[in-house]
Subunit: 148 residues, 2 copies
Amino acid sequence: MRANDLAVDLPTVTIDLPVMDAARLLAQHDLPGLIVVDAQGRPTAILPGTDVLKMAVPQYCLDDPALARVIDEATADVFAHQLGDRTVGQALPDTARELPVVDEDATALEIAALMARSRSPLVAVVDAQRRLTGAVTLDGLLERVLEP
Amino acid sequence: MRANDLAVDLPTVTIDLPVMDAARLLAQHDLPGLIVVDAQGRPTAILPGTDVLKMAVPQYCLDDPALARVIDEATADVFAHQLGDRTVGQALPDTARELPVVDEDATALEIAALMARSRSPLVAVVDAQRRLTGAVTLDGLLERVLEP
């Protein structure tokens, strides 16, 4: 098995996309994070789902999640509205987590080593021009290597 | 919405379960990690999928994933066999990541704040005896709070 056998198509985002749309993609596709690509389709970063939440939650609740209890349930239910029209670029931390990247001919072991080392459940697969051709997910990799 | 409205049943593991079984659960249920519970059903830690891979990959490949290239494809495909009969307890790092925990009446905002702060896409929901009653996933939470 090589990376191009293991890769699947996952939705990607660009830095100018509203982060609200990124949140919807995360929810719909049941993903741990989204791959951010540049105008040439080259992966530049990963946007973890927890960073999307971070942007929607007031700072004092991040400092102490117990303080979120003072907010009534009806207001708490609509916290995601705080994302407003902010973009994916704004949600990425200054030191955005680098997305692990492999070539199309990387083996299953190479991908597993990269996931384990970077603690990323998502690895991007790129062609010779460093353009994204797909992604390998941790559960997808495990599924294939554990086949009887 | 409260934690007990948002929680779903997810498979759990105990420290004496073979880590190979944990790997199968991760693959089958498309999960970012597994909740480790003690004999009383109380959550004690989270086992991230990347830690399962870490146990299966030789140390020199973790140090430098490019070294994994020297392993031929057929051998690379079966790297998960290295898990052998080792247990979940052995896969957990010495400083196992603490699983974020909320009471059943925690609000959506409280859960989001905890996920964002701990960078965990999984939060355990416990009853008054600290026994696990379910879990809230990041994508499940987003799905509910983004409903029109």
